[in-house]
Amino acid sequence: MLRCALAEWQLARTRLVRSRLGLWLLLLVGGLVLVARHPVILALDTGMLAAVLAVAFTAGADSDRAALALTLTHPTTPLAVALGRWLAASAVAGLCVGIACAARAGPGGAEAAALFHAAAGGLAAAAAMAACALAAVWVGGNALAGALFLYVFVLSHFGPPAIDAVLGNGAVGWIVGAVVSVLPGVWRYAKLAGGDSGAWAHAAAWAAGGVSVAALVLARWVRR
């Protein structure tokens, strides 16, 4: 199974250099390094947004989803394919987090410990977001990846109290609050760098759950 999962890296590697994924990621990292004020937010934004982009480019396109049907006529499993795509997207996003944090540190290596913790949090957040995005794109294609990108970029910075304060206690406020509470979010994962066990458990649950759901979706999809 591990061999089959690792085979999926080949797709991510070629996407990085042969599609616009590499360019978008460079722009994303460059832009966030320039504008982000706090290293934790820099690592989280970079990791989560890069994870969504990586999943969209390696698994969410119509051609990629169509190619899965043929892949699954070979001796692999939906779980191995989902695990491989998740690992590849997480690795790409992790690479972006590393580059962003290294660029932030500069040659002097200032704030090294804080940046290391921020990078670890960014990596965990990227893994959670990649799993979430993978399940989403295999259900609804890249339209959902676009929605997730906007969600991470804007909405996920606000926790339920902030949502309540802005939208009130109505149905819309309740729904948005529930979405923000359940989905991986910058507001929750900002505590990852500080070692908050609840945030780490949430990220781990999303990573495992998202990959499992993606595998189930794939299994149902290719064998109807």
């Binding site: 049907a69 699954l72 006529t73 001796p75 692999t76």
Partner: protein
């Protein structure tokens, strides 16, 4: 096995077995259920009824996928990979290390894809896509091949080459189920033919047996107003199945109907004759 799509019975009570080294042709009109049948066997569709085993394994399991290769019509490959990388990617799912590279190289050679090995899969023409689909299906020395319209889109030389490869593979014990509208190619390579219509097998038999009937073709000076009983009108005159009758008796019948026979010849039935006849019989029922 049976399979429905809503109210449509795509496959209705088809029973089929493949033996090692056998090439079976699957023919029939569009919508007959050929692709559905192949997808059921490949494990990408679940049957509503009946059971399928692939060398003793349920279809869709890892063991079955190791044994059975499927080349779907209009296969889609990971678009950013080159042809060589596509085969390498699939080879990784079978094995690792130097063996993987050997598998990919063998598949590249089998599909005669050397000249396009560096081109991206997304930019290939239909013929090359079919050849790549065939190469990935045969990858890993799989013992059962399901080929859905793999001969479509190939130029005559490539079609001949692929037919020869199928015969060579069959000689090594590989069982092939070939769905095709190219009846001449099926006639050439298939040892057995299944004719499918409306999800059912309407005729099945060894190719040699199906094609052993004789047909008498008669060239007339003028087209007949009405053909004699048992005769069909053709572009050049008439034709009839000889069955147990003689050429002389058939020609005498023509003369009795005052038809001016210019020439006649006896030929064996083609697969096209058999298929069209079977479909007509099925429609008449």
């Amino acid at each position: 096995m049976t399979r429905r799509f809503g109210a449509l019975r795509a496959v209705a009570g088809v029973s089929l077995s493949l033996v090692p080294g056998e090439i079976v042709g699957l023919v029939g009109p569009n919508g007959a259920g050929k692709t559905t049948l192949l997808r059921l066997l490949a494990g990408t569709l679940r049957p509503d009824g009946g059971s399928i085993t692939v060398a003793g394994h349920p279809p869709g399991t890892s063991a079955a996928r190791r044994t059975l290769g499927f080349a779907p019509d209009g296969a889609v490959f990971p678009p950013t990979l080159t042809v060589r990388e596509v085969l390498d990617y699939y080879a990784r799912l079978h094995t690792a290390g130097p063996q993987r590279r050997a598998l990919a190289a063998a598949a590249l050679e089998l599909g005669a894809l050397d000249e396009v090995s560096g081109r991206r899969a997304a930019s290939l023409s239909r013929g090359y896509v079919q050849r790549l689909a065939f190469a990935q299906a045969a990858l890993g020395g799989r013992q059962i091949l399901l080929l859905d319209e793999t001969l479509a889109g190939l130029d005559p030389a490539q079609r001949r080459r692929l037919c020869d490869q199928l015969v060579t593979l069959a000689a090594t014990g590989v069982a092939v189920l070939l769905s095709s509208h190219d009846l001449a190619a099926v006639e050439r390579v298939a040892a057995r033919v299944l004719i499918l219509a409306r999800g059912r097998v309407v005729r099945e038999g060894a190719t040699a047996v199906l094609l052993r009937e004789r047909v008498l073709e008669i060239v007339l000076d003028a087209p007949p107003r009405r053909p004699p009983p048992g005769f069909r009108v053709t572009a050049f005159g008439l034709e009839t199945d000889l069955g147990g009758g003689t050429v002389e008796a058939a020609l005498a019948l023509c003369r009795a109907h005052r038809l001016a026979v210019r020439a006649s010849r006896v030929r064996l039935k083609s697969l096209e004759d058999v298929v069209l006849e079977s479909l007509d019989d099925d429609a008449a029922r």
